[in-house]
């Protein structure tokens, strides 16, 4: 990632101090101050650069990658995910589709491409994070409309719903523990009701997002993984069936909403 400007750094420092005693209002203030200056803009540029950079043994770009709207079509592709692809006969989320293109088109090694999809605190963002951020921006303002025509896509929604309510682990937590009621919060953090259209649309439409407290853009795949960490479950794998199923559940509940990502979050 390129260097954010000094104003951004100062705001972030001020925010870290301010959040210790404050509520969500301070993040709203930060958002107001920033206006359109979401630090994610740097990551958007970086994502496009990755798309256009020849990589791998085949030394080609990702420009022939088919994200569902035809090879190389990026505008409006994000909002149709997760979706079934005939070439893999599988429902894929954007992250797993990108991995597919990296391995099949560029000839890159699957293990190395998936070794570290999400950055750790203090890292620079990853290639996957940058590509997803750029592709989300390529759908900014578009209507969320995940494909549900294929039977596997509808089955993925049903599976996602089952997993959403699946209680397990020492704390008996499911996704629903925190996300099936409206107007609730954990500590000071407001919790979206992901079983409702409004809650799901607000959430699905605003990720990936720049996390102010982490100084990084985070994708929905990362968001889910970190939820399960807090649920005391083992680690959710990028591109896994459970991850794609939950994303399908959220995206379909969000259908008709507007894509506003990349968002700017606590």
């Amino acid at each position: 990632m390129k260097k954010p400007n000094l104003e951004v750094a100062l705001l972030a420092a001020w925010l870290c101090a301010a959040t210790l005693a404050a509520d969500d209002g301070v993040f709203d203030q930060y958002r107001d101050l920033m206006g359109d200056e979401n630090p994610a803009v740097f990551v958007i540029d970086e994502g496009e650069e990755f798309w256009l950079t020849a990589q791998g043994p085949n030394a080609v770009t990702l420009e022939s990658c088919d994200l569902g709207l035809g090879p190389g079509v990026t505008a409006g592709a994000y909002v149709r995910f997760p979706r079934h692809f005939a070439d893999t006969n599988a429902v894929m989320d954007l992250e797993s589709r990108l991995v597919y293109c990296m391995t099949t088109i560029q000839g890159r090694d699957l293990e190395s491409v998936t070794a570290k999809p999400y950055s750790l605190r203090g890292d620079f963002g990853t290639e996957i994070e940058a590509l997803v951020t750029w592709l989300a921006a390529e759908s900014e303002g578009a209507t969320i409309a995940p494909e549900q025509a294929h039977a596997t896509e509808r089955a993925m929604y049903a599976l996602g719903k089952d997993i959403f309510f699946y209680r397990a682990g020492p704390h008996d937590f499911s996704c629903a523990t925190c996300h099936e009621q409206s107007d609730k919060r954990i500590r000071l953090q407001a919790l979206p009701d992901l079983t409702s259209h409004t809650g799901a649309a607000g959430s699905w439409g605003s990720w990936p997002a720049y996390r102010i407290s982490q100084g990084l853009v985070r994708t929905m795949g990362w968001r889910l993984r970190d939820c399960f960490r807090q649920q005391r479950w083992p680690e959710l794998q990028m591109g896994s069936e459970a991850s794609i199923a939950l994303q399908t559940y959220m995206a379909v509940n969000a259908a008709g909403g507007t894509m506003t990502a990349p968002g700017l979050k606590r």
Binding site: P170, T195, W233, P234
Partner: protein
């Protein structure tokens, strides 16, 4: 119980019938989708009877007799304090109530687990960073310290399902999240008249 499991299995099988890429059942999907990390081992994905019964999506009708017998089972399994003393140290209880760590893959297993009561409940009125998933417990001590009240509160902390099956609250005693001493300390934090929970806001 068996009827419910059968019902869930039928529903799940039906939902996956057309999905050629899917594994046979949700357990296999989860086993293929998660990997163990530090103390968060894969056996955590296996559900006990309470977790299975309480995984039904909202609105799904469940067998009342099964639910009643499961609740009675949980009540019978509650372990009261060995020495009959319910109340520990409210100051240590305050630490347990505020500590959100414990049992996550990112947590140090050598450190004590927290109860993280503040994630969901309002307690001391001067603490602003509280959640609202559970009811406010501010002034909880006004309920007094009768034997019935002590036993009721202990039971709620030990295994909330003994009274309210499928409550969102963790089973702090039954699942071994908190020790008996930590539970006593939280009891004191709730019930001791000197605890900040029972002081008027300044």
């Amino acid at each position: 119980m068996k009827a419910l499991i059968a019902g869930v299995n039928i529903a799940l099988t039906a939902s996956l019938a057309a999905w050629t890429m899917a594994a046979d059942d949700i357990n296999a999907v989860l086993q293929n989708s998660f990997v163990a990390k530090n103390q968060a081992t894969m056996d955590r994905l296996e559900r006990d009877a309470v977790q299975t019964a309480c995984s039904a999506p909202r609105g799904m009708l469940l067998d009342n007799d099964m639910l009643a017998s499961l609740r009675a089972e949980r009540l019978a399994a509650v372990v009261l304090p060995a020495d009959g003393e319910y109340l520990g140290d409210w100051q240590r209880g305050a630490e347990v109530a505020g500590n959100g760590r414990g049992l996550q893959s990112s947590d140090d297993p050598a450190q004590p687990n927290g109860g993280n009561c503040y994630a969901c409940h309002q307690l001391a009125p001067d603490k602003v960073a509280y959640g609202t998933l559970g009811p406010s417990l501010t002034g909880y001590g006004a309920r007094g310290q009768s034997e019935a009240m002590l036993q009721y509160t202990w039971t709620k902390l030990w295994d909330t399902h003994a009274y309210n099956l499928c409550s969102h609250m963790p089973r702090f005693g039954a699942q071994g999240i908190l020790t008996e001493q930590q539970l006593k300390d939280v009891m004191a934090y709730l019930l001791d008249p000197a605890s900040p929970v029972n002081q008027a806001a300044e």
